[in-house]
Assembly symmetry: C2
Homo-oligomer: 153 residues x 2
DNA sequence: CAATATTACTTGTGAAATGCAAGTGATTTA
DNA sequence: TAAATCACTTGCATTTCACAAGTAATATTG
């Protein structure tokens, strides 16, 4: 039994960054991988090379479900597989993820030629629209490779 | 001696969400408070009601400095006071913070009338410009009250 | 159809981070 | 000069995390 989180304070009109769910090392990475790398299964997350521990991954997936950010469904054709998908609420994090990607690219750059970054900044809207279109179609082809390279447009 | 973080993996072209710095419960809250609540001192962070532990706050401020996101300077008029400010790099997180605020407001809403949310979404650019203008002027008047309420425009 | 493989986890253990209460040292104010 | 303020640090109990190993359910292979 995990026990309740001990009741957190909340201010009046709740325009607050809500980092109770997203304020950890992995949640946003999982969301990004669902959003732009086309990840769907537990195994993909584990072997993505980011190094999340298996028990922590399981915990995060559970929490993200409980928060209504992702849903899990067992694949009809193969009862072993569980496919994770973003909900509408989860997809609405796309602007956050995009801005984080842009910021990270601008400052965490280890030097590789990333002309793509300028394109991301200039075409925020189109990219967000594309991500959402693929989400609706359940199209899991990645916009971003495992290496981080962008496959867009 | 804290010891090195044990070397994290990095992919080739580094377009990655870099959550090594921001992937915790407090960093983005500190940045938001500097950005839109006009916080400047240690004490303000401590007594903001968010409940960050004092040792953790000290640690985060140190890490954010080391990452070049904030700077600390002792106040000339009062040698006890240390004022924290965002760097350019820190200010460039404004779009991230704004999108998080919008998302949080949309979904974490406990019900209060927040017509302001729509305004934030419609006037992203103006708000970002305003935040940056105040930052340049070192104007610490908050855009967002402690309660979360927006004082803008 | 039995043996093996795959997938999605859980469990156990030590290390690290966190939360809390109390204390410290450098100023500044009364 | 004593008290107050500010920005921290220290110690300790609790929680979370990382790593390795194991398990249960389904699927594939021979």
């Amino acid at each position: 039994m995990p026990g309740k989180p001990k009741s957190k304070r909340r201010s009046g009109c709740p325009v607050n960054i809500s980092l109770e769910m997203l304020g950890d090392r992995w949640s946003l990475l999982i969301i990004r991988d669902l959003m732009v790398r086309g990840f769907r299964t537990y195994k993909e997350f584990q072997s993505s090379g980011e190094g999340i521990a298996t028990n922590v991954l399981a915990g995060r997936l559970r929490k993200l479900q409980a928060a209504g950010i992702i849903v899990a469904e067992v694949e009809a054709a193969d009862g072993r597989r569980v496919n994770y998908r973003l909900t509408e609420k989860g997809m609405d994090l796309a602007p956050v993820v995009l801005e984080l990607l842009i910021w990270g690219a601008r400052y965490d750059d280890t030097g590789a030629s990333c002309a793509m970054i300028g394109k991301l900044e200039k075409h925020r809207k189109e990219l967000l629209a594309e991500v959402r279109r693929r989400w609706r179609k359940r199209d899991a082809t990645p916009l971003q490779a495992k290496s981080g390279e962008w496959l867009w447009p």
